[in-house]
């Protein structure tokens, strides 16, 4: 059996998670501060991939990245980037698609920290940046871990978006979930079963891990 789709899925999930850690932490912190109408709209947009059919997101990304359209032409001319039917396109789509899984638990964690904790640090003369790295971030460590693991697991299970903009190119965009679909299409049930079982096992272990961690450290991020 060809293990490449599994590795591709793991690679995609890993890269997406790393990118999202750097993007998600500042966004979540910003959202957890004072509310405003702009933030409300941005938070709604970030949360949309949770409820929107992945095909909707995939469709619009396909249009946006299409080499015949404005953004697609611009990316191609300036960065020589071909986003449709490429791994890079999958990474970008996954970042958008998994954004709520990173941002929402982190935002909850940030807002649960007592305000006085940061204030105590300011009073001692510490800057906002120093306070963020020495007081705020270390105290949401369990939530950062949970958010990262959930993002990883969610990206691993991505199907609709990948199908729309990635297609089914071996070694490039043929991730495990696509490989299952492809195997079933060609009546190769044995391969489909193998891929499905591996995905099931990985995801199961991840979810158990999150539960164990949450029991000892923090409440589930969606509570």
């Amino acid at each position: 059996m060809d293990m490449e789709p599994i590795w591709l899925s793991i690679k995609l999930a890993l890269i997406t998670t790393i990118f999202l850690l750097f993007i998600g932490i500042p966004i979540a912190y910003w959202l957890s501060r004072r509310q405003s109408i702009v933030k409300l709209i941005i938070e709604a947009l970030i949360t949309m991939p949770l409820v929107l059919p992945p095909s909707v997101l995939g469709f619009y990304l396909l249009l946006a990245f299409s080499p015949n359209n404005g953004l697609g032409i611009w990316l191609h001319q300036h960065f020589n980037l071909q986003m449709v039917f490429s791994f890079k396109g999958l990474v970008l789509a996954s970042i958008i698609y998994s954004l709520p899984f990173m941002v929402s638990p982190l935002k909850a964690a940030f807002s649960h920290l007592p305000k006085s904790m940061a204030e105590a640090s300011y009073v001692m003369g510490k800057s906002k940046i120093k306070t963020f790295f020495y007081v705020i971030l270390p105290n949401i460590k369990p939530s950062i871990f949970t958010a990262a693991v959930l993002t990883f697991a969610h990206t691993l299970g991505e199907f609709g978006v990948v199908l729309m903009i990635g297609g089914n190119i071996p070694g490039e965009t043929k991730v495990a979930s696509i490989a299952i679909y492809d195997s079933v299409e060609t009546m190769d049930y044995a391969s489909a079963n193998a891929y499905a079982l591996i995905l099931f096992a990985i995801t199961f272990v991840i979810v158990i891990g999150v539960f164990l961690l949450n029991r000892s450290a923090v409440k589930s991020p969606f509570e």
Binding site: P114, A120, V123, G125, S127, Y134, V135, N139
Partner: protein, 207 residues
């Protein structure tokens, strides 16, 4: 001397309250603020610290303007050199007792002195969740002292301490305040704290 003449509309869990304060606090002395719940005692302390900004008015310490709405001056919290003991302690769960003090100052001798003063020496390697309420409260007090603030603001700082320990701690604090010429403003419902030294009482009311 701290001069404060401010107005602030505060909306807390007790509903909206107009906080209007026009008074002075004597330097190098202990001033106790008392008054009914929800009247704005904590807000007043936070205004002095610069954590909350008044809607109008001014705050000055000696000749230095800390806040002046008309002149659009507001000295940053970080630059005011105040100590603050929060009612909820506001300890850092990721730091041990000693690390709390080290975060505030590099002066090892002074850290040792504070640990002795708060009777926390043997507990210095513990994290907040491994401490009792009274021990946590003492860490909050010691941490506020660690930066050697000119002005120390304390929000009900002794509520979790038993009577004997409280007496010993207040005695220790009194001599420290005297030596460092600390100006202290504290919110408390008790009247026996710092009773033996230069202490003023300021009653906050809304009339």
């Amino acid at each position: 001397m701290i001069k404060i003449d401010i107005f602030k509309k505060i909306g807390g869990r007790y509903g909206a309250v107009d906080l209007r304060v026009n008074t002075t606090f004597q330097s190098g002395a202990v001033t106790q603020i008392s008054g009914p719940s929800g009247i704005g005692k904590t807000s007043l302390l936070k205004i002095l610290a610069g954590l909350v900004l008044p809607d109008s008015g001014m705050v000055t310490l000696e000749d230095e303007i800390w806040f002046d709405k008309a002149k659009n001056i507001s000295k940053k919290v970080q630059d005011r050199n105040v100590g603050f003991v929060f009612q909820d302690y506001a300890l850092f769960p990721n730091m041990t007792v000693e690390e709390h003090l080290r975060y505030a100052t590099n002066d090892k001798e002074y850290i040792n002195y504070l640990l002795e003063l708060g009777e926390m020496k043997v507990l210095s390697k513990r994290y907040p969740k491994q401490l009792s309420g009274g021990q946590q409260q003492r860490v909050a007090i010691l941490r506020a002292l660690a930066t050697k603030p000119k002005l120390l603001l304390m929000d009900e700082p002794f509520t979790a301490l038993d009577a004997e320990l409280k007496l010993r701690l207040i005695k220790g604090l009194s001599s420290l305040f005297l030596a460092q010429k600390t100006t202290v403003v504290l919110v408390s419902h008790q009247n026996d704290e710092f009773a033996h030294q230069n202490r003023n009482v300021f009653l906050l009311s809304n009339d």
